[in-house]
Subunit: 208 residues, 2 copies
C-alpha cells in the first residue's frame, strides 16, 4: 500500500497510527499541501477533492477521507466492534470528529502553524475556538467514567479523535480543564504499536 | 423507533428517506432547532452535541450523526455494499458530504431560509458558495458515466448526497450546469419507497 500524506496532518496521522497498530508495512509519499501539491492534475486523479491522505491499495484503487480509510483498515480487526450498534457508535464519533471537531480544533492549529493570520482569520479564529471548546466539552462529558469512546475498547473512534486533540495546544486550546480527556490521551499513548505524530524517520522530518 | 428531527433538515430527511426505503415504521418527534429545542438539558441527554437527527432505538439507545444512522439502518440491506472496499467507498462519499458539501451547500441554504443575512454571513456566503460549487463539481466529474456513487448501485452514499443537493437551488446554487448530477437526482427520485423532503403529512407541515 502507498500512503499519500502531509507529515504535519492529523488526518494523515490517523492512518499512520492505524497502520502501525496493525503492523502493516507501506510506502510513504509526502505531498506538500502548502505548495499546492494536492491540487495538481496528477493528484486529482487520486482524489478529485484535492485532499490528503489518500491510500493506494495494491491493486491501484484509491481511497480518500481519513475516517473512511480507518474503517477500511480496521474491518475484521480488534479496532472496530463486531456488533452493529458498536460500529454505528464508532461512526457517530467519527462523523462528530469531522463535522464538529476538526473544522475548529484542527483548522485553528493549521492557521497558527502554517498560514498568515490576517484580520479575517483572526476574527473567525475566535468563533472556531469557541466551537472547538464546545467539541472538547462534549468529549469530556462522554469520557467521564469511561476508558474509551465506544464499548470500553480502544477503536478507530479513539484514533480519529486523538489525532487533533493531542495537539490542540498548538491551536491555543488549553487542555488542562479537560481532565477525562487528558487521562484518555494517556491511555491512547499506552496502546501497543503507538507512534507519535512526528516520527524521527528522516524522510518525514522535512525542514519547515 | 423514534426519530427526533426538524422537518426542513436535509440531515433528518436522509434518515426519513432510508426508513421509507426499508418500509420501517417509526414515531416522529419534531424538534424546533430555531427555538433552541435541540439545546435543552432534556435533549442533550439524547445527543450531547445538541443536534438533530437523533434516532432512539426500541431499547432506548440513542444514535446521532445522520450518516452513522444511515449506516446502522443499511447494514444487511441492499443499500450498503457487502464487500469491504465498497463499504469504504460509501463511507468516503459520506465523509465528503459532511466535510466538503454540507457545511457549504446546506449552510448557505439554512442562512437564506431561516436566518437573518447580516453583513458577516453575507461575506462568508460568497466563500461557502465557491466551496459548495467545488463540491458539486467533484460530484459531477464522478457521476459522468456512472449511475450511482459506488458500484453502480443505489446506496446510502447516494442518499447522503441527495439530501442537500436536490434543494441546493434554495441556497442559490444553479444546478443546471451539472448535467450528470441532474440525471442522478432523477434516478434517486425513481427509487422504490422514495419520499420527498416535505411530505404532506399534517404533523410535518408546520407553519413557517
Amino acid at each position: 500500500m502507498t500512503l499519500y500524506d502531509f507529515a504535519d496532518s492529523g488526518n494523515g496521522y490517523k492512518v499512520r497510527l492505524m497502520l502501525s497498530h496493525l503492523g502493516t508495512a507501506y510506502r510513504y509519499v509526502e505531498v506538500d499541501i502548502l505548495r499546492g501539491e494536492s491540487r495538481t492534475p496528477e493528484f486529482l486523479v487520486k482524489n478529485p477533492n484535492g485532499r490528503i491522505p489518500v491510500l493506494e491499495l495494491d491493486d491501484g484503487t484509491f481511497l480518500s477521507e481519513s475516517n473512511a480509510i480507518l474503517f477500511y483498515l480496521a474491518e475484521g480487526s480488534r479496532y472496530l466492534p463486531e456488533d452493529r450498534l458498536g460500529r454505528a457508535h464508532v461512526l457517530q464519533w467519527m462523523f462528530f470528529e469531522q463535522y464538529s471537531h476538526e473544522p475548529n480544533v484542527a483548522t485553528v492549529r493549521f492557521w497558527l502553524k502554517h498560514l498568515e493570520l490576517d484580520e479575517e482569520r483572526r476574527k473567525r479564529m475566535a468563533e472556531k475556538t469557541t466551537l472547538g471548546h464546545a467539541a472538547l466539552s462534549v468529549m469530556e462529558r462522554h469520557l467521564a467514567g469511561r476508558t474509551f469512546f465506544v464499548g470500553e475498547t480502544y477503536s478507530i473512534a479513539d484514533i480519529a479523535l486523538y489525532a487533533y486533540t493531542h495537539v490542540a495546544d498548538e491551536g491555543g486550546f488549553d487542555l488542562s480543564p479537560y481532565v477525562a480527556v487528558g487521562a484518555w490521551l494517556e491511555r491512547v499513548r499506552a496502546q501497543p504499536g503507538y507512534v507519535p505524530l512526528h516520527p524521527s524517520c528522516a524522510e518525514l522530518a522535512r525542514p519547515a
